[in-house]
Amino acid sequence: MRLVTAIIKPFKLDEVKQALEAFGITGMTVSEASGYGRQRGHSEVYRGAEYTVDFVPKVRVEVVVDDVDAPDVVSVILKAAQTGRIGDGKIWTVPVEDVARVRTGEHGLDAL
């Protein structure tokens, strides 16, 4: 199994969620995140004083999938989250040793 983590623009969350559902993914974990990459932050002006805000609001989407599905899931998210402009985000995957479903005690692929 692999954990796919995507950092995306907040307003792209609905499209990514729908695309993942259409692909057949049955669950995901979403959290609010802040950060910057090459885009850096933006500036805000309060009473003439300019502040640079480095950490831009982002959304983190996490999905655990079967090894064979991982490349497809990455490309599904990639397609749905892309605007082509700077600040679109990042996607990465890491191997997952085990997953357990709390309710039933099932392990591995059965727990997904």
């Binding site: 003439g48 300019e50 502040y51």
Partner: protein, 456 residues
């Protein structure tokens, strides 16, 4: 008091309603200031305003009213013992103008409260709360009550003899450009200098944590200010109506002036700019609302909006941390409004004086400049003495760790927003310590874990 005038029920109703409107301005200041500070300081910011409501309410009924409106000692200060406790003013025969003396007491009380509250914006995030409360009473007693006497106590109104600015110098200050705004602005400047800069001033971002609170505060201030200005007519009459319209017109113009300045300088008109422009306009028209035409009010508003928008940058140039721009908005706005009367006053307005632009020469102008300068100088010097004395004895600034962690936690043991559910910790209530509990050991361990939960 003075003669057996009839109480007018319309006048009385308007003054009592105005007093309530002006009292609402102080929570308005709390919201306006509270939204502008960081999330770790919002409760303390609001508590400084609410604290002033508490302390000045008591000081006012004990000696404050008497000190401001009792029989004058050489035009400088009223006799604080004449009406001490107000018990001699409760009779239905106790009348000033056309309203019961106690209605006048109520209306003037809320002016004292908001003037003190305004100062707090200059020392956001770092003032020791107990010292602030002591300061509110000492400052009101030595600075505000006498200055209110100078400016607001007219001969033959609440006492035979009133203050020197109102009666001898004859500066026009209808609702408190000098006594309230220049006074609070100068005091804020001194306190900001005495307490010093916040850790990270002009380096770390100190963005307003909640702009919607700021907008709500500005709205309440604008609303309450109709009581502040139109209520100062002390009657439901033509002067009240004229000042009401001028208050609206100047405020709108100042909002436009601030937004235009920002658009040209920074590329965007901001909501904080709109809120600040509104307050700057209200400040500037406060002394002038009885003396100018609505067109004059628009001119004063525009002037205040532009000049105050430029003035808020001074603290970065000169390196003083007037955190929420009490100087840039209230001192500068108060000076603009008070001095502008010398130029824009029109004899067609209720004050019936012509300024320089209306053919009145410089007679009123110098009276305005001297009146404004006198209050500025007195407030600056005496606040400096009070501030330094409190700073050296009680200490006026919290320690470094408390300021970094946040003054809400340090001074009040509270957190403004509990947005997460991961608090942890335990529970103990004050009664456990006061009345003893079944298990002392478990009570004390619960108290410890509550503390840990709060600081994590």
């Amino acid at each position: 008091m003075v003669s057996f005038m009839e109480i007018n029920s319309g006048d009385t109703a308007w003054v009592l309603v105005s007093a309530a409107l002006v009292l609402l301005m102080t929570p308005g200041v709390a919201l306006f200031y509270g939204g502008m500070v960081r999330a770790k300081s919002v409760l303390n910011m609001m508590m400084m305003s609410f604290g002033a409501m508490a302390t000045i309410s008591v000081a006012w009924v004990l000696w404050g009213y008497s000190e401001a409106f009792g029989q004058s000692w050489h035009g400088l200060v009223g006799n604080p013992f004449q009406h001490f406790g107000l018990s001699d003013l409760l009779s239905a025969k106790s009348v000033v103008g056309t309203i019961p003396t106690m209605a006048f007491v109520a209306f003037q009380a809320v002016f004292a409260i908001i003037t003190v509250a305004l100062i707090s914006g200059a020392i956001a995030d770092r003032a020791k709360y107990s010292t602030w409360l002591v300061f509110t009473v000492v400052w009101a007693t030595i600075v505000y009550f006498p200055v209110a006497h100078w400016v607001f106590a007219f001969d033959g109104y609440a006492a035979d003899k009133g203050g020197w600015i109102a009666n001898s110098l004859k500066t026009i200050d209808f609702a408190g450009g000098t006594a309230v705004h220049i006074n609070a602005g100068a005091a804020g400047l001194v306190l900001a200098l005495i307490l010093g800069k916040r850790i990270g001033f002009a380096k770390d971002p100190m963005r307003p944590h909640n702009m919607t609170l700021v907008m709500l505060g500005a709205a309440l201030l604008w609303f309450g200010w109709f009581g502040f200005n139109a209520g100062s007519a002390l009657g439901a009459n033509n002067t009240a109506a004229v000042t009401w319209v001028n208050t609206m017109a100047a405020t709108g113009a100042a909002c436009i002036g601030w937004l235009a300045t920002e658009r040209i300088r920074n590329g965007h008109g901001t909501s904080l700019g709109a809120a600040s422009g509104i307050v700057a306009g209200l400040v500037a028209i406060t002394p002038a609302c009885s003396a100018v035409t609505p067109v004059g009010a628009v001119a004063i508003g525009l002037l205040a909006g532009v000049l105050c928008a430029l003035a808020v940058g001074l603290k970065f140039r000169f390196g003083f941390d007037d955190s929420l721009d009490v100087v840039g908005v209230h001192l500068v706005g108060g000076l603009v409004g008070t001095i502008a009367i010398g130029f824009f006053a029109s004899a067609s307005a209720p004050a019936a004086v012509d300024g320089l632009f209306y053919g009145g020469g410089v007679d009123q102008l110098w009276r305005q400049v001297v009146g404004a300068g006198a209050v500025l100088l007195y407030s600056f010097v005496v606040t400096g003495v009070i501030g330094l004395a409190l700073h050296k004895t009680l200490g006026f600034r919290i320690d470094r760790d408390g300021e970094v962690a946040g003054i809400d936690l340090d001074q009040h043991a509270e957190t403004s927003y509990d947005l997460g559910s991961l608090g942890g910790g335990g529970f103990s209530h004050a009664g456990a310590a006061l009345f003893g509990s079944h298990s002392t050991a478990s009570a004390s361990s619960a108290a410890t874990s509550t503390k840990q939960g709060a600081s994590s």
